[in-house]
Amino acid sequence: MRTLRFLLQKEFRQILRSKSLLFSIILGPIIQLTLLPLAANFEVKKIAVAVVDHDHSTYSRKLIDKIYASKYFSNGRYRESYKEGAKLVEQNNADIVLEIPHNFEVNMVRDGHEELFIAVNAINGTKAGVGSGYLGAIIADFNQNIRLQWDQPGHFAEAASIDLVNENWYNPFMNYFLYMVPGLMVSLLTGIGAFSASLNIVKEKEIGTIEQINVTPVKKYDFILAKLIPYWVLSMFVFTIGMIISRVAYNIVPVGNISLLYGFLSVYLLTLLGAGLLISTYSDTQQQAVSLAFFFVLVFNMISGVFTPIDSMPGWGQVLSYISPMSHFAAVMRMVVLKGSTFHDILPHFVAIIILAVIFNTWAILNYRKTT
């Protein structure tokens, strides 16, 4: 215990003395958490529509007004031909080209049906998908209105329409921050934990101080514990700051029990620091460790479910997601913050994370023994 105390004293001294380290593990996350949610927004706005109106009729005019009245579409430009419209897309000045054919109104009234043409710039898949969806909805709505106008009172509509009323559970107003901020916090904590833990032992290896330590009576478990505890404490601290920011800046109050979050986090950090340590034991230089940690953190993030739903991943992706510690923390975080899940609800994740913690740490300690 006495040795551990001195080792910890030394570690904290080194951490507090390194300005870049303090910045990246404390100030960095604060800045990221205040800025990133504003930037990492899935809502698609300001879709630029170029209109090629060959008809110039009342109907075409009405349709165009309806589109531009929507907050999702920014005022586009009118072009005389499809070719010119397509040119705007090429120059990246338009996302969608809408072509209204000649005699749009005439055909509509006479035949009761007409076709429109939409060309979408699909370089940004999300924007293209969402944009054409919005546009389709607006056109369908326009269509519906015209039909209603034509229908005589007392006359049943030819196609009965079904209206859907939906309610968003756990996030009734579809508040984007409520969904994204907890997810980003998971992502940030994972980054900090994995990078700092993977760097710290390899740093002693690279500078050569580990040689000096190895010839002293310092026990290995003391040495490893002294390496892990400071980052565990710091991560807890960063999490607390994150909770305060999400309360103050985004007005997010967890529905569930906060102590449940801390309880889960404390085990999650053990897993993460164990994984970092494992990387550390396999690397000889800090550069190697950073490259490895970067690879894993990126994969963890992609399959975590923070940014894309796990259910829509292929089978192997879901398996990967299950053995990646980050997805469990992301799930628990959202369950507790949004839904108010209890210990019983998150028990499967708890069991999984404990198993992962044991695996990573045992592996790391065994491998550390082998290399020295």
């Binding site: 006495r2 040795t3 001195f6 080792l7 030394k10 001294r13 080194q14 003395r17 390194s18 500078i207 050569g208 101080t209 040689e211 000096q212 190895n214 010839v215 002293t216 009576p217 310092v218 020295t372």
Partner: protein, 308 residues
């Protein structure tokens, strides 16, 4: 009891393809300063790492302070001080914090063993609040020595302590070692500098992982076979070629500002005959004098034999 014993220690790297230490056997008596002399890559550091329990040897036995390096490694770690060739203290901690840290992990304090490091520490004490990484090379060596000594080790391992240190600091450093010897600490020191070898009680010459000679510095140079001459002339470059092509020459090397020349047989060591030969070759301002061989001369002589 001996401070260190090595019995047929062999160490290979890369699955046995690189032989680093080849059946090394030697003994360091209690209180002795023992020098391991050899060029880079001779196997000095491997021997240090085996003795400091950082590396397992393939075969052979070794003891430090009476403890076996494999079975009783924990006991060895309590009673040795190790200063690796590369500066390996915490660069982001200050001089005092480094010293304090190494004292505390050995369950002691600076105060307790201050006597031992006093002579060295007073020189770096004015900089005790400076980060170790910001010290000059000589200062770093002194701090590293302090840290290796702070727990009053019985055996001190110094792996090339003066490599990369200026000439004045080197002399100072060896003065410090001399004082430590009076405290009864056994020292194993390695160096590629032959002039430092003369300052040890006993030296082992090592090359290609093999120990070639073990004796006191004085006895080592006495082992030099035959006579040795120093030759100078106005045209030193041509002199080397001329001497090497002389029929009686065994070997000839540039050595400082002179050529060190040895003969195949003592009968060949005829100065007047050599002078006549060199004058015929057009050499002027000739100076030929018999000298006593140094450790380096002997080292070159025996490694030459080794390499055929």
């Amino acid at each position: 009891m001996s401070a260190i014993t090595l019995d047929n220690i062999t160490k290979t790297y890369n699955k046995g393809t690189v032989l680093a230490v080849d059946k090394a056997t030697f003994e360091v008596a209690e209180g002795e300063t023992f020098g391991l002399i050899g060029p880079d890559g001779a196997g000095k550091t491997s021997i240090f790492r085996v003795l400091t329990t950082l590396l397992l040897a393939e075969s052979g036995n070794a003891t430090v302070a009476g403890f076996d390096v494999v079975k009783e490694y924990a006991k060895i770690r309590d009673c040795i001080g190790y200063m690796p060739g590369r500066f390996s203290l915490y660069q982001d901690l200050t001089v005092e914090e480094n010293l304090n840290f190494f004292a505390t992990i050995f369950n002691t304090s600076i105060k307790e063993n201050y006597d031992l490091i006093k002579d060295i520490y007073v020189q770096i004490e004015p900089f005790k609040d400076r980060r170790a990484g910001k010290l000059s090379g000589g200062m770093k060596q002194k701090l590293a020595l302090c840290c290796a000594l702070i727990h009053k080790p019985r055996v001190l391992f110094l792996d090339e302590p003066t490599t990369g240190v200026d000439a004045v600091s080197r002399v100072e450093f060896w003065d410090m070692l001399k004082r430590l010897k009076h405290q009864g600490i056994s020292i194993l020191v390695s160096t590629p500098y032959m002039d430092e070898a003369a300052l040890c009680d006993k030296i082992a010459l090592i090359e290609g992982g093999k120990i070639l000679s073990i004796a006191s510095p004085a006895d080592t140079v006495k082992k030099y076979p035959g006579k040795l001459f120093a030759v100078k002339s106005a045209n030193m470059h041509k002199l080397l070629q001329d001497l090497r092509s002389y029929e009686g020459t065994y070997s000839c090397f540039t050595f400082g500002d002179a050529m060190h020349l040895s003969f195949k047989q003592d009968a060949d060591a005829d100065v007047s005959k050599l002078t006549a030969y060199l004058t015929a070759k057009g050499q002027t301002n000739l100076e030929i004098a018999e000298i006593t061989a140094g450790i380096e001369d002997y080292f070159i002589r025996i490694t030459e034999k080794l390499n055929g």
